[in-house]
Assembly symmetry: C2
Homo-oligomer: 295 residues x 2
């Protein structure tokens, strides 16, 4: 029996990789995109059906038409630091859209939701303390979903992510900046570099989403759960050394050439064993990821 | 030295009474209203300055111009049960507006915020469990405010309210329905009536808001706090008896003539002593409130 998935944020890095994995596994996959979304990278993904949805649009007809077994909610507006004029967009993308999605699921008897959170909901503590307003909207979204779980019978697992990486990532993140510097010989100004980063390969993240979905499909609904997908940990300095070693090229870095960010996460929380998605283990390593760049 | 207050929700029952009390106590009071707000009841309130603010408008100029010592945030969209097409308004009123208010406070160095929550954030438990989506947005708003407190130095106390009553309440709530029935002899169809209601007179609520403000003014900021203002408790049946007794008129009620509401709050949580606003005690009683209707 073919499983049906609805993926939001399908034009993003993780959403796109998840959709491809689900299709390869034999799922039927629908994706939600916005009118302004760049869908070029998805044009060649055989079998993927895209639905264009306006902001604030009632999602009930789409849920009724697609009747997914699982909704994977990856759509999000990410802002490390927001400007005042971006608050409306943050609330719209991360709160209103999440509520509209859950409401449409409840209205159509669509039960299973995998939601996406961030380890930044936990600045230096296992309790809620947001690094930034983005992380606060993620916590707030979980609180809205608790209503839909408790009063409207949705089954919800939130996966809280740390940093992620992979070949198709187009975000200009630290790992790619280091790889480019090793290959091009450009010098970098960086922070003092003692902060710890926690990195998970997108294949492992995608495996986590699918594992969580299987857990929802295999059980009656209960309380919403939030799990972390925590990966390899290195200081930024150690990461730079690793990239340099594997790619066998020195990287010229001025550590301390830039200041730490305000509210820099120096040591991300270490999830307790019951806060890690049951059954999930990291399989990919940065070492082998980097080795592929040598060839 | 004259204290300056900015009150949102000033056209509402509690906001209006709070503004009058603050003015009587010698505060300078500014109020925020929306273009569609009915401000008729405030027209005769001497000294009150009203500012018309559009939805989603940047509040920074207003905060800069009024520079309040304390912001009392009473504005809220209350919906016991929402329709799907009202989700946008709930998010707009209870989340976006709260974030814009806090952002403008942070931008202008306005430090002290008294926020309003609801005991419905705690359906049958001291932990978060929302009775309805309205209560979920109230919890979510506290999540957003935690960011502003922790990262942007706001001092925040949230007062979580149960039921409130008072002569100027225009909402058609249970107490007024019972009073009217006792006076007019009309018969009522009601739920079985075993649910407990927790009622606080608006004068006591207003005193709580001012006491909380004084606590913020007297201390350096710390973690956001949430306190309950819990009042008299009666079952609906006992409340009907009380009204009938004091007004000395029988009330013809068919208990069970209507069903309980979905997710009826049968026994509201009893706040622990450290969850009650320090120093606050209830002074008004339903008995004396009802006695005034006899004369």
């Amino acid at each position: 029996m073919t499983r049906r998935a609805l993926v939001t944020g399908v034009t993003g890095f993780i959403g796109g990789e998840l959709a491809k994995r689900l299709l390869a596994d034999g799922w039927h996959v629908d994706g939600i995109v916005r009118p302004q979304s760049d869908t070029q990278d998805l044009a060649n993904v055989a079998g993927l059906t895209l639905h264009v949805i306006q902001d604030s649009q009632d999602l009930t007809p789409l849920l009724a038409a697609t009747s997914p077994d699982v909704v994977f909610h990856l759509a999000s507006l990410y802002l490390a630091e927001h400007r005042p004029d971006q608050i409306g967009m943050l609330v719209q993308s991360n709160l209103l859209f999440t509520a509209l999605l859950a409401e449409a699921m409840a209205a159509t008897g669509t039960r299973n939701l995998i939601n996406t959170g961030t380890a930044w909901q936990n600045f230096e503590t296992n309790n809620y303390r947001p690094v930034n307003l983005y992380a606060a909207t993620k916590q707030a979204a979980e609180d809205l979903l608790l209503y839909y779980a408790d009063a409207r019978n949705l089954s919800v697992i939130t996966l809280r992510l740390f940093d992620t990486y992979g070949h198709t990532d187009k975000r200009r993140k630290l790992i790619q900046i280091l790889i480019d510097a090793a290959r091009n010989g450009e010098s970098l100004d960086m922070s003092p570099g003692d902060q710890i980063v926690d990195m998970t390969h997108v294949d492992d993240v995608v495996a986590g989403f699918i594992l969580a979905a299987q857990q929802l499909l295999g059980t009656r609904f209960g309380k919403p759960k939030a799990y972390y997908l925590s990966g390899e940990r290195h200081s930024v300095k150690a990461l730079a050394r690793l990239v340099s070693d594997v790619l066998n090229h020195p990287i010229e870095i001025r550590f301390g050439g830039r200041a730490y960010r305000a509210r820099e996460v120096m040591g991300p929380i270490v999830p307790s064993s019951d806060a890690t998605l049951p059954g999930w283990t990291r399989k990919q390593s940065l070492q082998s990821y980097l080795a592929a760049f040598v060839a």
